[in-house]
C-alpha cells in the first residue's frame, strides 16, 4: 500500500495529481475518456470544491484519489504515499446513504475499528465521541432505517471522522437532501472540517454550495473532464452568502460553467462529436 520510495513531489501536500487521465473500459468499443491531464496540488487543511457539469468526471477523480480505481495514466500522491489502493487516511462519503443497514449506528461508525479487532467497549467510546462531534450522541443505538436522510449522512461523516482521516473525500454528499437540511449540513460540515484539520475534497454541481464552502473551486470542463480553471474563494468566513462579493463570485462561476453545460448538452444530443 504505502510505497516507501521518496516522493518526487512535495511530501507536505495532502493530495498531488500529475497528468492524471482516466479512460473507462479502455481498449474496448465502449471506451470513453472521463479525465484528461489533471494537475492539482491540495494543501493540508484546505477545502477544495470540484465543480462541473454532470458527467464531467469530477466524481471519477475523487474515486481515483480514494484509490478505489486506478488511473489510466499519471500519478496521484498523498503525503509520502503513491495512491494505489484505498486507505483509511482518505475517507470517502457518498451521495447515497452508504450505512450498513444490518448494523446499528455505533456499529456502523466503528466498522473500520471492528475489522481491526478493537474491543467492543473501546469501539463504543470511539462511536460516542464521533457521534458527539456530529451532534448525534442520542442516536448511538438506533438503526439506520430509523434515521432521516440528513442524520444518516451525519452518521456517515462520523464514520469517516472516526478513522481520523487526513483527507475527507465527499461525492455530492448533500445532493439528496432538501434545501433547509442541506444548509444546516453545510454549516455542520464547516465546523467538523475546522475541528478535524483534514483537507476536504468536495464534489458538487451546485454553485451555491461551492461558494459557501470552498477555499478554492476547481472548475471542470465537459467530457473529457479537464481543469478549466481554479478559482480562489477569498470571501471571509463565516460567510455572508447574500453579500455583493458572493453574488459576484456566483455570477463568475455561472459564466464559467455555462459554456461547459452547453457543450455537454450538445454532445448528449449528438450535435458535436465527443472530444
Amino acid at each position: 500500500m504505502a510505497s516507501e520510495t521518496p516522493t518526487p513531489y512535495s511530501s507536505k501536500d495532502s493530495v498531488v495529481c500529475r497528468n492524471v487521465s482516466k479512460v473507462w473500459a479502455a481498449g474496448t468499443r465502449r471506451a470513453h475518456e472521463a479525465l484528461r491531464d489533471i494537475d492539482l496540488d491540495i494543501s493540508p487543511g484546505e477545502f477544495v470544491v470540484f465543480l462541473g457539469p454532470s458527467g464531467c468526471g469530477k466524481s471519477t477523480l475523487l474515486y481515483l484519489i480514494a484509490g478505489l480505481e486506478p488511473a489510466t495514466a499519471g500519478e496521484i500522491w498523498s503525503f509520502r504515499d503513491r495512491v494505489e489502493t484505498p486507505s483509511p487516511e482518505r475517507s470517502l462519503i457518498f451521495q447515497e446513504t452508504s450505512l450498513f443497514p444490518w448494523l446499528n449506528v455505533w456499529q456502523n461508525v466503528t466498522f473500520g475499528h471492528a475489522i481491526r479487532g478493537v474491543p467492543e467497549a473501546e469501539r463504543k467510546a470511539i462511536a460516542a465521541d464521533a457521534l458527539q462531534r456530529v451532534g448525534l450522541a442520542e442516536a448511538i443505538n438506533k438503526r439506520p432505517d430509523e434515521l432521516s436522510g440528513g442524520m444518516r449522512q451525519r452518521v456517515a461523516v462520523a464514520r469517516a471522522l472516526s478513522m481520523r482521516p487526513k483527507v475527507l473525500l465527499m461525492d455530492e454528499p448533500f445532493a439528496a437532501l432538501d434545501v433547509q437540511t442541506r444548509q444546516k449540513m453545510q454549516d455542520f460540515l464547516l465546523d467538523v472540517w475546522r475541528d478535524s484539520g483534514a483537507s476536504v475534497l468536495f464534489v458538487t454541481h451546485s454553485i451555491d454550495e461551492a461558494v459557501a464552502l470552498s477555499d478554492r473551486i476547481v472548475v471542470f470542463t465537459a467530457r473529457p473532464g479537464r481543469i478549466k480553471t481554479i478559482v480562489t474563494n477569498t470571501l471571509p468566513r463565516p460567510r455572508n452568502l447574500f453579500s455583493r462579493e458572493s453574488e459576484a463570485l456566483r455570477i463568475h462561476l455561472t459564466d464559467l460553467l455555462r459554456d461547459e453545460v452547453d457543450r455537454a448538452f450538445a454532445e448528449q444530443e449528438g450535435l458535436v462529436p465527443a472530444a
Binding site: 480514494a66 452508504s98 444490518w102 466498522f111 473500520g112
Partner: protein, 314 residues
C-alpha cells in the same frame, strides 16, 4: 421530515408504558393486537381457499364435475378416515405380516408426513449450505469460477426426472436417493441465485469497507454475506416449493413411507379421492413451511423494509 421529529420516539414509548407489563390486561391487549394484525390475512386466506372449493362444489352439484374423476373437497376430505389406511405404504406389501399389525392408519399418516417433510428440509438445508458456499467461492476465487460456473450453468436445466436413475444407481433405494434428488434439483439454481445476489450488492457498501482498509475476506464476511441474506432467504423460499415438487418424484422409488408412495398407490389403484387428499395435504404443508420461513425472515432480517404498503397505495 425534520431530524427532531424522527429522533423523538415518544408515541411508541407512551403506548408501551400505558399498561403495566405482566398483567392480564397486557396479555389480552397483546392478543387483540396480534389478531387485529393477522386476523384479516387469515380471513382472506380462508376466503380464497373457500372460493376455490366453492366453485368446485358447485360444479359437482350441477353435475359438471364427475365425483369419480374429480371428487369435490367434501368427498375427498370426508373420506379421510377410510383413506388413512393407504398411508401405511411401508408395511402393506410385507409378506407374512398381518395387515392389522404395524402402525394404525392415523399413525401411518403422521409417519408419512414426517418422512416427506424430513426429506424436504434435509434436502433444502444441504442444497442451500452447499450452494451458498459454492456461490460465494465462485465470486471469491476467479479460477474457481472459471472451473465450475460453466458446468453448473450447463447442468442447471437438467430435469430432476433425468437424475432419478442416477440417484438409484448411486444410492439404491431409501432416504438417500430421495434427499439426493432434492439436493441436485435445487443446488444449481441456488448457486446461480447466490452469484446473482452477490453481483447485486450495492457498490457503495463495498467501497466504504475498502476505504476503511477491509481485506477481501473481511469484505466478503462482513459486507457481502449480510447484504445478500435477504435475497438468499427469498431464493430459499422459492426453492422450498421446488423441494416439495421434487420430493414426490423422488419418493416414487422405494422409500418406505412417503407422500410420493401414497400418490403412486392412488394412481395404480385409480383412487382420485386419495390423490386430491394428498394434494390438499401437500398444499397445506407447503403453505405452513413458507409461513415459518417468512417468520424467520422477519426475525433475522429486521432491516429489510416492507414495501407491500407502497404497492397497495397505487
Amino acid at each position: 421530515m425534520t431530524d427532531a421529529a424522527i429522533a423523538n420516539p415518544a408515541p411508541a414509548a407512551a403506548k408501551a408504558s400505558a399498561v403495566p407489563p405482566g398483567t392480564a390486561e397486557t396479555w389480552s391487549t397483546r392478543l387483540k393486537e396480534k389478531l387485529a394484525e393477522s386476523g384479516p390475512r387469515i380471513g382472506w386466506t380462508l376466503v380464497s381457499v373457500g372460493l376455490f372449493a366453492g366453485i368446485w362444489e358447485l360444479l359437482w352439484a350441477v353435475g359438471l364435475a364427475d365425483p369419480k374423476l374429480l371428487p369435490p373437497p367434501h368427498v375427498f376430505l370426508g373420506a379421510f378416515a377410510d383413506q388413512a389406511k393407504f398411508f401405511n405404504t411401508a408395511t402393506r406389501w410385507s409378506i407374512g405380516l398381518n395387515p392389522a399389525d404395524g402402525p394404525t392408519p392415523r399413525q401411518a399418516l403422521l409417519i408419512t408426513v414426517g418422512a416427506t417433510m424430513g426429506r424436504v428440509f434435509s434436502g433444502l438445508l444441504i442444497a442451500s449450505v452447499l450452494a451458498v458456499a459454492v456461490g460465494v467461492l465462485i465470486r471469491y476465487f476467479h479460477l474457481f469460477e472459471k472451473l465450475t460456473l460453466p458446468t453448473i450453468t450447463l447442468l442447471s436445466p437438467v430435469s430432476p426426472i433425468a437424475w432419478l436413475p442416477v440417484a438409484i444407481f448411486i444410492f439404491g433405494i431409501g432416504n438417500a436417493p430421495a434427499i439426493f434428488m432434492v439436493v441436485i434439483a435445487l443446488f444449481f439454481h441456488m448457486v446461480l441465485g447466490t452469484v446473482a445476489q452477490i453481483d447485486g450488492v450495492n457498490r457503495n457498501l463495498i467501497n466504504v469497507a475498502r476505504t476503511m482498509g477491509a481485506t477481501k475476506r473481511q469484505i466478503y464476511l462482513r459486507v457481502i454475506v449480510p447484504a445478500i441474506l435477504p435475497g438468499l432467504l427469498m431464493v430459499l423460499r422459492l426453492n422450498m416449493f421446488g423441494a416439495w415438487m421434487v420430493v414426490l418424484i423422488a419418493e416414487t422409488t422405494g422409500v418406505g413411507y412417503g407422500l410420493g408412495q401414497v400418490i403412486m398407490l392412488a394412481r395404480n389403484t385409480f383412487n382420485p379421492s386419495l390423490v386430491f387428499f394428498c394434494i390438499a395435504l401437500i398444499g397445506f404443508l407447503g403453505f405452513a413451511s413458507d409461513w415459518v420461513l417468512r417468520m424467520i425472515q422477519k426475525r433475522i432480517l429486521y432491516w429489510v423494509p416492507e414495501t407491500t404498503g407502497v404497492l397497495r397505495g397505487l
